[in-house]
Amino acid sequence: MTQTATPPRFTVGPQRRGAGHVRRRGRWDVKYSPYAFVAPFFVLFAAFGLFPLIYTAYISLYRVELTDPGQRVWAGLGNYAGLLHDPFFWNALRNTFTIGAISTIPQLLMALGLAHLLNYRLRGRTFFRVAMMMPYATSVAAATLVFAQLFGRDYGLINWALGLVGVHRIDWQNGTWASQVGISTIVTWRWTGYNALIYLAGMQSIPAELYESAAIDGASRWQQFRHVTIRGLRPTIIFTVIVSTIGATQLFGEPLLYEGGTRGPSGGVSHQYQTLGLYLYDQGWSFFHLGRAAAVAWVMFLIIVVLVTLNTGIARLRSCDERALGRKGRALR
């Protein structure tokens, strides 16, 4: 906090000098004070963003115990090799991917549909928009505790409602798929409205003339949606896919509190919903093995980099393809 107050003082100094210095001060001011403006952010960023990330890579090469972090023993790539030989690591990796897919894909599709509806001239437009955002304002902890109760096996409201329509009780905790669907439901509930609003903003920046000319060409509503809306939304869709991917890779609070937190970071009796985030916490704060935990963090970082690169790469390829196709189409016509 104190750091944020310093840079303004930095530029106050020269300002107090007499008018004769105006020109020189002006040059100095223009040249150097922009750095003072960005300095608070970058100082904080260096201390609490960049340094920890690089230091994580460093620690991952050592054996470090939580009980005595000052004591370090060189381990080389031992922590990483340990991960590769730990079946629980592979289990967590698999779970992160499956939960990520179940929570992200339906969520983004529903958000797209909702955004399309919100883009109509609705009565009570603001009400719907704010209502969809309410889950986003709820904390992971509060939301998960509520859903943990709703998904209860014996007394949960969802199983009771399913029972009314004749569906047998589902074990939302111990079933592998059932528990992963349960956790994905919490994620979907919290983020669908947020993504819908982002899509809505994207839709509103698509020029109306595009729709008009598509309509003149005889495109149906569905064709307009596919060829005008989806294409116009492409950058927005890429943005949401990237943000969701990053979020899914580090999923932590939902699986931690899914059974009210009684299972700790184990992710269920048979680790059936232990994600990489939980596995990291388990290694560091249950087994006191900070070096191993740092290796997990660095692996997660690499996964994110690979996924983001893949996403943008695919997006770029597809738009290149389409441009080529478009040119061909025009030539044929």
């Binding site: 403006f37 309410m134 609003l197 916490y281």
Partner: protein
Amino acid sequence: MTAATLTARLRRTRQARRAAAPGARHLRPGWLAYTVLIAATAVFAFPFYWTVVAATQPNTAINAVPPALLPGGRLTGNIKEVLAETDLGKALLNSLIVAGSVTVGTVLCSTLAGFAFAKLRFRGRHALLALTIGTMMIPPQLGVIPLFIVIAKLHWVNQLQSVILPTLVSAFGVFFMRQYLLQALPDELVEAGRVDGASLLRIFLRIVLPVARPGMAVLGMLTFMAAWNDFFWPVIALTGDNPTVQVALNALGNGYVHDQSVILTGALLGTLPVLLVFTLLGRQIVSGIVQGSVKG
């Protein structure tokens, strides 16, 4: 040209642009659209309703078959029990301190840097901006191990500054304020200040801050919400003795309380402040999220 006429002109062009909003599709929705939207709203709202039901009923009533589906009269009893179980008062105060300081710090840093990136020319600004945008992709969670070692060395474990300081870093905030000022602050205004011989600091205080205020308010609300709801790092850095609301909820969940009503009463009390802010200012927050995300 004075600042007043400039801002007036700016406002007029913005109004004109809004009137001809390109994407405002003048399609009237059918009943199906309303049905789907109302159903979706009901799904989004139900967990809130259920929290209220559970917090106002005894545990036996929500675990009964069929369960209670309407609010009851046990709210005060449940509140007493949850307060006996965790120091929720202290947690609320701590969350207020943490989220408040994070908000003030983040908005200040972001406005300063956002202004520089939006309107000032200096060597290396492209590289620095790219670095900032790049770090938006890096989840701060991944740095928890060294952060923990550092705060352990400083004897900050269980102290609020261990949560406040790392949370102050917000590349999103810088980017958000840059995007806001790019369109809200006309270059002429800054130039006019320069011609008058004002220092950059003076320009910032007299010209930029007033223009930036709406954007700062939105960023402040978003930051406050995010800081209030932050989970992973506070759970590591703090314990039940000096918790934020989320740490207290975590402790409540995995503690020895098996009374669902009491746990959900805690969830209700911990969520209420943010929900209150949201119902009062939801419109602005919604527009802020929309602005911050797309104009990339």
